[in-house]
């Protein structure tokens, strides 16, 4: 089953240049899609459109068969009514490059508050979910700490736990290790590897090529707002055919 389907997505900002130029993609349940490409190619914008942080110019976004947004024949973009969007909102989670934890909440409250406020879970249930996830992230001893007292890697693990707590069907990652010191990226990549092993459906924008090759079922190479090449990691990363892909990947060889 497709958890996410994007059809003919277009997006421009105030300037006339289109940042996303007719992109379509599908993400099947349990699959991991890796998105790679040079900076400025529109990867973040694609995730932001998919998670409805940006409105789109045209196209369709469908979560589990339900339209979040569609475009009628004369080009009018129609978003689903608020109540339906709210339901769809619960299907996905997003992990940001710079974590965006709530600095005034303790680690555990960062995780329990959305559960209590948004999902109306009881306090006990919320704490049980949060403690389980913190344990899984190796952060059980940090539940009372505040984000400012944690390393970047620890903060990112909290933010992943916060996203997972809401039990999303699909999790987006926008360069989850780019804000981290190189020695801290490994711990985050391992967390994501473990999630992949549990068949969590994920879309991951990353510059970590060997990680993408290991973890992804499908790789999308984007450049200049279009999908230039896609396929299995074997095809796209090991044996790229398009010259833009080849040029991009050659920068990562060491």
């Amino acid at each position: 089953m497709n958890i996410l389907e994007i059809k003919n997505l277009r997006k421009s900002f105030d300037t006339d240049t289109e940042v996303i130029r007719n992109i379509s993609l599908e993400v099947q349940e349990g699959k991991v899609v890796g998105i790679i490409g040079p900076s400025g190619s529109g990867k973040s914008t694609l995730l932001r459109c998919a998670t409805m942080l940006e409105t789109i110019d045209s196209g369709e976004i469908i979560y589990m068969g339900e339209h979040a947004v569609k475009t009628d024949p004369d080009g009018k973009v129609i978003y689903a009514p608020a109540s339906q969007l709210k339901k769809i909102q619960g299907i996905f989670g997003l992990v940001f490059q710079n974590f965006n934890l709530f600095p005034h909440y303790s680690v555990i409250k960062n995780i329990t508050d959305p559960l209590i406020t948004v999902q109306k879970k009881s306090k006990d249930e919320a704490f049980e979910i949060a403690r389980k996830l913190l344990d899984k992230m190796g952060l059980s001893d940090k539940e009372a700490a505040y984000p400012c007292q944690l390393s970047g890697g620890q903060q990112q693990r909290v933010s992943i736990a916060r996203a997972l707590a809401l039990n999303p069907k699909i999790l987006f990652f926008d360069e989850p290790t780019s804000a981290l010191d190189p020695e801290l990226t490994g711990e985050i990549l391992n967390v994501i590897r473990n999630l992949a092993a549990e068949h969590m459906t994920m879309v991951i924008v990353t510059h970590e090529m060997s990680f993408a090759r290991d973890v992804a079922d499908h790789i999308i190479f984007m450049d200049d707002g279009v999908i230039v090449e896609q396929g299995s990691p074997e095809e796209v990363i090991n044996n790229p055919k398009n010259e833009r892909t080849i040029a991009f990947l050659s920068r990562f060889e060491r």
Binding site: L53, P114, Q119, C148, L166
Partner: protein, 218 residues
């Protein structure tokens, strides 16, 4: 005049000063937030009306504003108001003036919160109101506390301006006694009282700031 008589007159005046101070904060702190929302509104007309209001409040002397609020209804509209209106006038004058200053402080605080906080809240499913009340406002309060403290301390001293519409607050009383007794003592005593008032308020604000220091904003 005996010292105890003088002090009791001054303390009565101080009670009025404290009342002006308290009522002004009580109304202007929340009103400032509403004004700040108007100032940041997407509605062009509303935004600009609020902008002009703020600029007048900050661009003209508070003494003048108090006189306009007090004398305005009579001289502009010919309204006959009882002399008790002066107490209402002084509160209105202080509240609309301080709300303008607080609004600008709130606006600065709200605009300084990184957009990522709103985005994280939205992705997690918080409503707009929940986002503002639970995620944004607490961080705004922490950020603006030092600026608010400054304004509050200025307000203590500004309460003495109420003398222009003959409110018998502490400064008016000190002035009256000083001229009738040909003595500088009432001013010295009033100064000491103002200082103590300030000290209490500053200490309280420091304590509140400390309560918010359990975390740092990135």
């Amino acid at each position: 005049m005996e010292l105890s008589v003088m002090l009791s007159i001054l303390l009565k005046g101080m009670w009025i000063s404290v009342n002006i101070f308290t009522l002004t904060l009580l109304f202007s702190l929340p009103l400032g937030l509403i004004v700040a929302f108007g100032r940041m509104s997407g509605n062009f007309v509303l935004r600009n009306i609020v902008k002009i209001y703020i600029s007048i409040m900050r661009g003209t002397p508070l003494v003048l504003q108090l006189m306009v609020v007090y004398f305005g209804p009579y001289f502009i509209f010919g309204m006959e108001l009882s002399s008790n209106y002066r107490y209402t006038a002084v509160i209105i004058g202080f509240v609309i003036n301080y709300a303008a200053y607080f609004a600008e402080i709130y606006r600065g605080g709200i605009e300084s919160i990184p957009v990522g906080q709103y985005e994280a809240a939205k992705i997690l499913g918080y409503s707009k109101t929940q986002t503002f009340m639970k995620i944004i406002l607490p961080q705004v309060i922490k950020r603006i506390l030092p600026a608010v403290t400054n304004e509050i301390i200025t307000l203590i001293k500004d309460t003495s301006l109420a003398y222009v519409i003959s409110i018998p607050e502490m400064f008016s009383e000190a002035k009256a006694i000083a001229s009738s007794q040909k003595s500088v003592m009432p001013y010295v005593a009033a100064g000491v009282f103002y200082y103590i008032f300030n000290y209490i308020v500053a200490t309280t604000m420091e304590w509140i700031e400390k309560k918010f220091s359990y975390y740092k904003i990135s």
